[in-house]
């Protein structure tokens, strides 16, 4: 992976009337890396991708792709990029080949080259057998594979993927992910992917930008992001409480040491807390409400915890002050606590 940036984003902003969808974000993407934008729905990921792929015009700020400005040189940018949007871009009444042929012909690719490329792409995702069938009859998994190869017709240097595994069964998701990795490794395609699935971001991405409320709130490799919380005096607890009630959750939430609480199911809570007394305070809070603790686990941080940690903070105060950006090693205290 080279270190030179292929995408440079500066203060990119998009507003719809009064609503700020993307609020002055800046980041670089290096040539050949898989870059993830992680965040909940409505965080501004899709809008960012749409602006970078020239489908939407930024309200303020600039970005360049391969040195071309996304507004001034949009035609050049379009030649360089491919976009797999959340919606399936294909015409149901056309066959797989006709669809690819139509979109390919918009890129002025010579006929011979295009024919060969379509055959190769169909082969690559094992759709050759179905090339003359109308895509409306395809399964969701097949359609998503079509959706991905459509974006590859112009052999893009940069590929944008907007929630590429949304609504797919686990097997199809794995296929798409493997395909993305293969594309990145064999063709050196730079990939920018949005997802709200932490696991997916963790599996795929070299670096991850966490987006929330139109801003990028953290940006680093997955390992470094996790260090961000595990290194400080932060504890991640998984609690099983037999008689879990909103009262108990509220009691934990209002604990001085608690950073964030999320309920995983009817009996399990995931808690991010800090300080030496984290354990005791949480247990006391549960007991005070007559909660019955069935089991308690101390966990290794996942991206999910990072996200919860950051956004949990943000809900109450501003993120920037509280998130320790310097990674620390695991503390002795934390090790002692592990049962």
């Amino acid at each position: 992976m080279g270190n030179e940036p292929i995408i440079e984003v500066k203060n990119l902003t998009k507003t719809f009337n009064d609503f700020v969808a993307v609020d002055s974000i800046s980041f670089d993407v290096r040539k050949g890396e898989i870059f993830g934008l992680l965040g909940p729905n409505g965080a501004g990921k899709t809008t960012t991708l749409r602006m970078l792929s020239t489908l939407a015009r930024p309200t303020k700020g600039t970005a360049t792709i391969g040195g071309y400005d996304i507004v001034e040189n949009d035609t050049e940018v379009r030649k360089l990029v491919g976009i797999v949007s959340e919606k399936m871009i294909m015409y149901n009444r056309l066959t797989a080949r006709e669809n690819l042929w139509f979109f390919g012909s918009l890129f002025n690719i010579p006929k011979k080259v295009l024919t060969k490329r379509i055959d190769e792409l169909l082969e690559l995702v094992q759709l050759t057998k179905w090339k003359n069938a109308q895509v409306g009859r395809f399964s969701t998994g097949m359609r998503q594979r079509m959706n991905v190869i459509r974006a590859l017709l112009n052999m893009p240097r940069v590929l944008f993927l907007d929630e590429p595994t949304l609504g797919l069964d686990p097997q199809s998701s794995v296929e798409i992910r493997d395909f993305i990795i293969k594309l990145n490794q064999e063709n050196d395609t730079t990939i920018i992917i949005t997802t709200h699935m932490m696991v997916e971001a963790d599996l795929l991405c070299d670096r991850i930008g966490i987006m929330d409320h139109a801003k990028i709130v953290a940006l680093d490799t997955s390992t470094n992001l996790k260090k961000m919380i595990s290194g400080a005096d932060t504890t991640i607890l998984k609690l099983e409480i037999g008689n879990l009630s909103p009262n108990i959750i509220e009691a934990i939430r209002t604990c001085k040491c608690t950073d964030a609480v999320s309920q995983e199911n009817s009996t399990h809570l995931r808690i991010i807390a800090h300080g030496d007394e984290a354990f005791d305070s949480v247990v006391d809070a549960v007991r005070a409400k007559n909660g019955k603790i069935n089991s308690m686990e101390n966990l290794q941080p996942t991206l999910e915890d990072v996200f919860l940690h950051i956004t949990g903070h943000q809900v109450r105060d501003s993120v920037e002050q509280k998130v320790p950006m310097e990674p620390h090693g695991p503390s002795a205290q934390q090790k002692r606590r592990i049962r």
Partner: protein, 401 residues
């Protein structure tokens, strides 16, 4: 724009048009609708308005209360005979005999008949004693249109009978006058009408050009927003916009596809009009198609503006409905503009459809050539250019929102 640019613009437009047409032809349901819609329109308008006499077999009851003069009821007998004779040739009424005025009223209320004719008791007496004979017509006021038609039809029957009677009277007064002379004395003036082209024209001749113009032009005005907003909603528009193409080729391609579709419908209507409803095209068929294309051109700009406003398919449909109805009625497709109040006539002057259907009517019905419709042509061209000049910048802005 450079030559190469124009060439790729056109090539992309054709690709998009090809794709749209392909989709349409694979959509069997749409295809059936495409043919059925004009067929329904034709059949309905055609059969409701096609015949010269607008009514037939209207049930009418007849009451003869004539008590006679002396022993003679000659006047009422003549009346019923002539009435039946005339009716046999026109087939307008289905006559039945009833016994009283009250019975007629009951039958009208029950909806079994649409009106009644009453011969009063002193009918023969009045005629034979040199007085005016009176006939009473009973009409159904709940259906004013029908009742006025019956009235005017019966009036013409009576008029004809009155003339016959007067002719006989004149002959009786002076034996040197023969039958045809007597007509000249009774009715010294007569009117015959003559058209510009041979043959009678029906309401259908009037309406067919209008419907054709409307169908073709609406396909662009409403089809364009519908097609583009649909692609926007499904997301496929992004696939086109992500390619390095001129934004205009999207609109151009869509317009091409919609025009082809509109023209296809226009041809179907034309064939139906000629084949089923006996419409004759007096002018050049080529000019008819030229006019239809010009109509499309004049509507493209309007279609693009609407597209820019229609954020989704639902809005597009609403816009289409709201605009289509006034257009249909105000541009003189179904009713002559002269029938409208002055302010509506004023509005209709701003609608390109008015001029398109007017020009098409002149060509199809009157066999007009290009000089004869130069005013309409000029207006359509100017309207088209102005609308496109407004539409293109609006569209460009909309596409890169």
């Amino acid at each position: 724009m450079s030559n190469v640019g124009a060439k790729t613009l056109l090539s992309h437009s054709f690709r998009i048009a090809w794709k749209d047409t392909m989709e349409l032809f694979r959509n069997k349901m749409m295809l059936v609708m495409l043919i059925l819609m004009p067929l329904f329109m034709m059949v309905m308008v055609g059969f409701i308005y096609s015949s010269d006499t607008s009514m037939s077999n209207v049930p009418i009851a007849l009451v003869n209360q004539d008590s006679g003069y002396g022993n003679s009821t000659v006047a009422s007998q003549t009346f019923t005979t002539v009435l039946q004779q005339i009716n046999n040739s026109t087939g307008m009424m289905k006559l039945s005999n009833v016994s009283s005025v009250d019975e007629i009223k009951t039958l009208v209320k029950n909806g079994e008949i649409d009106g009644g004719i009453v011969i009063p008791s002193n009918f023969t007496e009045s005629i034979l004693t040199g007085q005016q004979g009176t006939i009473i017509i009973i009409t159904d006021q709940s259906n004013p249109q029908m009742s006025s038609t019956i009235q005017s039809a019966l009036k013409s029957v009576f008029d004809q009978m009155g003339t016959m009677l007067a002719q006989q009277n004149v002959m009786g007064l002076n034996s040197s006058v023969n039958y045809s002379n007597s007509l000249a004395i009774v009715k010294p003036y007569t009117v015959t009408t003559e058209g510009i082209v041979e043959g009678n024209s029906t309401y259908f001749d009037f309406i067919a050009p209008g419907i054709i113009a409307m169908t073709v032009m609406m396909s662009v005005m409403t089809g364009l927003p519908a097609a583009i907003s649909q692609e926007k909603e499904v997301g496929t528009l992004d696939g086109m916009m992500a390619a390095p193409i001129n934004r205009l080729s999207v609109i151009l391609g869509k317009t091409l596809a919609q025009t082809a579709r509109g023209l296809l419908q226009g041809v179907i209507i034309l064939v139906l009009a000629v084949g089923l409803f006996g419409v004759t095209i007096h002018g050049s068929v080529l000019l008819v198609f030229g006019l239809l294309l010009l109509g499309v051109f004049s509507f493209v700009g309007l279609g693009i503006v609407l597209t820019s406003f229609a954020k989704d398919q639902e809005t597009a449909m609403m816009l289409m409905m709201t605009l289509m109805f006034p257009m249909m009625f105000l541009s003189g497709v179904f009713f002559p503009i002269q029938q409208m109040p002055w302010y509506m006539q004023g509005i209709s002057k701003f609608l390109p459809l008015t001029y398109a259907s007017q020009a098409l009517r002149k060509v199809m019905v009157l066999g007009a050539d290009i000089p004869a419709i130069s005013t309409e042509l000029t207006i359509l061209i100017v309207f088209g250019i102005v609308m496109i000049a407004i539409a293109v910048p609006v569209f460009r802005r909309m596409m890169t929102r």
